[in-house]
């Protein structure tokens, strides 16, 4: 069993309440930080821990905090990104729903390190029933003196608020989130200036993912150096993985980074293997935005070395033969899955979620959705495949925010690894007219075996 830092108490009855959470050692990091450490010392520990942003980009959290403009006399803000809308990702929801105090504790310590006096948790509006859970947790923490004026008798004061989104994936992007929190449409801003200098209400702002913030209390409790010993290389600590798709045990798992992918996928402690006794076809290891990998390339890199669950190992091989850990949205497909249809659902998603500001993204995602739909339903032409590659290339790198790239990468990687399956759709239009085509008769490559053992 790997070490657990975030979910270690998930099975303790009543852990949602302050009383039980506190009994399990909760809020110790607030006492330690506010009474014995300066804000800078808290930031130093986070830097030493090597914690990398858990929202998808993997940017070092301590370094992000150090960019916050501390010279300006404007208020500073911390926004917790609880928008969780990347398809395949559902770990933040799990944490907030079942151990809300882990997030609230993290909010207090992180806000202290940043000098924020008011912090917001921006949660996707669909999590309607979690709002009362978090608000209750905040009230309990306030009643115990951990939130409000002069916390624990120190001169640090803080308010934490929950704010609701209203259904827009793009509001997970940090500058769109800031716009949305200001009561506007979620149109991402041009960078620079970065939020660390000009953010919410034009004030210095840090936006961090739920899981990143919840990782701060254990770092303060055990120390940054100790945290950095968990994991492998620059992938330190533990990570929540949301596992979905064709596996026996979908769910949220906390792993030590560096866990062999094979163990994660096949052992009963985690995913429990492929369902219905079927074979593995492909894995999208980090949420819908990251490149898809055929089973064999997922289990072993192009050099034949087994991969592990880490930022570096999953990315090994670059875009040619690697992927990314991303948000940890781990989507598994068995031999009956149709790569084209799955990709079409993603293209539809990105088209639907594009804010429409940049024409390559607005038009390109629409094109990709349309072309993929016609290929999938048996109306495609051979030239459509290269058309898709071309459209994806035109989007990549030519947009204000990374949603454009996020829409392009899955298309480019699916065609790179599964071109033959796209060709099959065009060669055999009658066969693919049935939406369940590969469920009835799994696709078998005529050129090489796509399916791993």
């Amino acid at each position: 069993m790997g070490r657990k830092l975030l979910l270690k108490d998930i099975d303790v009855p009543g852990i949602r309440s302050f009383e039980v959470y506190r009994k399990q050692g909760g809020y110790a990091s607030v006492e330690k930080a506010l009474k014995t450490m300066t804000p800078d010392a808290v930031m130093e520990e986070v830097k030493k821990s090597g914690l990398r942003g858990r929202g998808g980009a993997g940017f070092p959290t301590g370094m992000k905090w150090s960019f916050l403009d501390r010279k300006s006399d404007k208020p500073r803000y911390l926004i917790c990104n609880a928008d969780e809308s990347e398809p395949g990702t559902f770990k933040d929801r799990y944490l907030m729903e079942y151990i809300p105090h882990a997030l609230i504790e993290g909010m207090i310590v992180s806000s202290y390190a940043l000098g924020a006096k008011a912090s917001y948790i921006y949660m996707r509006g669909e999590f309607r029933w979690i709002f009362p859970i978090l608000e209750k947790a905040i009230e309990e923490a306030r009643a115990a003196g951990f939130i409000g004026k002069n916390i624990l008798g120190t001169d640090y004061s803080l308010e934490v608020y929950v704010h609701s989104g209203a259904g827009a994936y793009i509001c997970g992007e940090e500058t769109a989130q800031i716009e949305s929190l200001e009561g506007k449409r979620g149109n991402p801003r041009n960078k620079p200036p970065f939020p660390a200098v000009v953010g919410l209400y034009n004030c210095p702002t840090v936006v961090n993912n739920v899981e990143s913030i919840a990782a701060v209390p254990p770092i303060i409790n055990i120390g940054g150096d100790e945290y950095a010993k968990i994991g492998v290389g620059k992938s330190t600590g533990t990570k929540l993985i949301s596992a979905s798709g064709h596996i026996n045990k979908p769910g949220v798992y906390e792993i030590e980074l560096g866990l062999p992918v094979e163990e994660f996928l096949y052992s009963d402690e985690y995913c429990g293997g492929i369902w219905k006794g079927r074979k593995l076809k492909a894995v999208i290891p980090g949420g819908s935005s990251v490149p898809i990998l055929p089973g064999d390339l997922f289990l072993k890199n192009a050099k034949g070395e087994p991969r592990v669950m880490s930022y570096e190992s999953l990315a090994d091989g670059g875009f040619a033969s690697g992927s990314m850990l991303g948000s940890g949205g781990f989507i598994v497909m068995d031999e009956t899955a149709c790569i084209v249809r799955n990709l079409w659902t993603f293209a539809r998603f990105y088209h639907h979620e594009s804010c429409g500001q940049c024409s390559p993204c607005r038009e390109g995602t629409g094109w990709m959705e349309k072309v993929l739909h016609r290929i999938e339903t048996g109306h495609g032409k051979m030239s459509d495949i290269d058309l898709l590659v071309d459209v994806a290339k035109k989007i990549e790198g030519n947009t204000i925010c990374p949603l454009g790239d996020a829409a392009a990468w899955p298309v480019a990687s699916a065609i790179r690894h599964f071109r033959e399956e796209f060709e099959y759709h065009i060669k055999y239009p009658e066969k693919v007219k049935d939406p369940k085509h590969f469920e009835k008769e799994p696709f078998v490559s005529e050129r090489n075996a796509v399916v791993a053992a």
Partner: protein, 184 residues
């Protein structure tokens, strides 16, 4: 529905709105727009009429156009009347892998409507939505404040019957992240 009720928050709803406005710095009351629209939608029949949006603009002291452009950007706001019970079935990749297409097809047949439509008796509206962060319990749908997860075609009749009972009387539950009446 909205047209039978005057567009005027109850005292309880108004108190909640005022409490939420105070969460943002002075002069930044526009920040409360998304939350207040959620409350308005739940209070005034499950959708946002022009009248409702103008009313919200007045409360927040912003121009009506600022409300319209926001309301039309976010998918959770209904700009048309909806049934008492809105079924929002997720259809993105991970849910599709576990059979969301079958659920949608079954509901369309059973209710005799297409996605986006409302049954003639005004009971059910069927919508398809994108990933609701419930992929580990797919297929699934959202109804008001709840997620109904691990759906299967076999279970659908029972689910629909239960929903009919709970949403018919005395008043429908459109759901809101900011419940005016706790527990609803």
């Amino acid at each position: 529905m909205a047209d039978t009720k005057p567009v005027q928050f109850t005292d309880a709803a108004m108190a909640l709105v005022q409490k939420i406005i105070k969460r943002y710095p002075e002069g930044r009351q526009k920040s409360a727009l998304l939350p207040v629209l959620h409350i308005a939608q739940a209070e005034f029949g499950g959708w946002l009429s022009t009248e409702t949006m103008d009313y919200v603009a007045g409360i927040l002291n912003i121009k009506p156009i600022e409300v319209y452009e926001v309301a039309s950007f976010y998918t959770m706001y209904n700009l048309q009347p909806v049934g008492k019970c809105v079924l929002e079935v997720c259809r993105t990749g991970p849910c599709w892998l576990r059979g969301s297409d079958d659920i949608i097809q079954y509901l369309e047949q059973k209710l005799g409507i297409k996605e986006g439509e409302t049954t003639a008796d005004g009971m059910f509206t069927l919508k398809t939505v994108e990933c609701l962060a419930s992929c580990g319990s797919a297929p699934m749908m959202q109804v008001g404040n709840h997620y109904i997860e691990n759906l299967s075609v076999e279970k659908m009749d029972e689910v629909l019957n239960k929903l009919k009972e709970t949403h018919n009387v005395p008043s429908p539950d459109y759901g809101s992240p900011y419940p005016v009446t706790p527990g609803k």
